[in-house]
Subunit: 343 residues, 2 copies
Amino acid sequence: MGQKTRRIVLKRYIEGVPSPDDFEIVDHELPDLADGRFLVRNILLSVDPGTRARLSGQASYVPPLKLGEMVGAFSVGEVIESRHPDYVPGDIVSLAEGWAEHLVSKGRGFIRRITDRRLPLSPWLGVLGVSGMTAWFGLRRVGGLKSGQTVVVTSAAGAVGSAAGQIARLEGCRVIGVAGGLEKCRWLVDEAGFDHAIDYRSMDVAAAVAEAAPDGVDILFDNVGNEMIDAVIPSMNLNGVIVVSGQVAAYNQVDPPGLQNTRAFITHRLKMQGLVVFDDLPWDDAERAMAEHVLAGEIVWRDEIGEGLESIPEAFAGLFRGENRGRRLARLAPDPFEPEAKR
Amino acid sequence: MGQKTRRIVLKRYIEGVPSPDDFEIVDHELPDLADGRFLVRNILLSVDPGTRARLSGQASYVPPLKLGEMVGAFSVGEVIESRHPDYVPGDIVSLAEGWAEHLVSKGRGFIRRITDRRLPLSPWLGVLGVSGMTAWFGLRRVGGLKSGQTVVVTSAAGAVGSAAGQIARLEGCRVIGVAGGLEKCRWLVDEAGFDHAIDYRSMDVAAAVAEAAPDGVDILFDNVGNEMIDAVIPSMNLNGVIVVSGQVAAYNQVDPPGLQNTRAFITHRLKMQGLVVFDDLPWDDAERAMAEHVLAGEIVWRDEIGEGLESIPEAFAGLFRGENRGRRLARLAPDPFEPEAKR
């Protein structure tokens, strides 16, 4: 008999802003472990805005999730049973399967083994996971980051944005963050070491960027979408690069605004390029470099960790209300790598 | 006393589609030739859609032309007097000064000396000039053109587009051109060797591109603007490149449409990049390679040559009605490189 578990499925297709009622927690029995598979008990689940893309029920570049299917997500968990030659019980792995207490992996797709016991597990879903790697490869491979440049990061207090700003700062760049609300802006400057923060709720972003970057912007690392990109383009330097890391604003809009300032691609020789960080696997070198920054206390982040699957639907909806203070996670079990005292 | 000449000035700022009445031909006396300058008698003038960008009177990335100022343009002419050490009477040069019968050059900025007497002068304002070089460096430096790729070219019967398509064909690519009208489409396939042509006036471009490129599009070389780019993006392959060569559709629109399909930059890892071909100067290697193609009869083009300055205002307006069959030029004097019989 297979492992009994619980998981979160899509209850109705989402139009506009997600609501907790779009999801449902259901009991589920996993099939018996077939040869070549292993069973994972999840410890931490991540709650990512990017999940939104597949929840509209509409054909897109990624196939839409069907009603009643488990919602995809990243998690970190412990292997508790294995019929796969490379994984044994006790292994800690990061997976891209879904919001569930237990998961079966076929040993294919995204699986990262976590062996560095010097750090708790949560950063492996953050600055050492997809978010941090997206920041790293977005700035370095796509953006061509160089010391002394001016870098604007949008959604800067989020998991990807705050990692991007700090990577740029560690490279010796001037870093300007755009975020929603004074609290986030203060955190960016006071804790994350950004040179400047712009509150898009109370300020005109285009004017504020122009003022904060008198020598122009070399890289825009954007997580938001076209309106934000259009606000920054007039400040961009010749040969500036727009890294398209996310388009979170578009997920909830039926008819999102188009990008207007495309003539600047000619006049200012701009380059705009998107990335999906799985193209950059394996991440070993980048992970090691980032882990050293984390151990040295040179990169900070904020987690908001909810308890149990139950915390996830509301946490997900909150992402789109701009309420998150850093990365949203759900804890299902104690972290074996965290010092006893902190659990 | 300076050289007496005639030139074309801007009579009124242009809103929307240009009209011949926006320009005026005026008599002008050039100043006495100062030290370091040389006087050119123009032989051929070019009529380019890109000129439109500076004629609205509105501040943009390029300063607007003022009323009464000479309209900028490329030309080929003969040096008839020189106080510059590098140029002597009889030299044939290409300049970027303006629509005038005579010009004074300060010996700075864009000046190309034309010494290859095997070809008539007109291609030096076309496939061997800014148009052809934009096609060359756009496809090669920006697009990373590789044999076997599928390339879509818009405004394909124009000077830049037809050069781009033929460069891609010579590289062993499958080439699809988008142009306005059956006559242009026939020319693309029958004369310029395009694999396929799409008439945007009578066909749905998005559907036609999808059908003509069953294996997807690797490079979009666009001269038109956002609506055209949006029509091609759904057919683009992973890591596809959009070369922003021109945005001619936007010049005449007060509120041009934005680019909608920006989410594909992430899902399809697209790159969009603009170029200004003067960044690639000197063009010597590219010019030589293209000249050999021309001599071998491997690249064709169409000129529409009007007589005298008088032909220019109407020719310019016609560009924006899609009437041009290839490059528009105005001839002011016989071509010294053309065989006598052909003059």
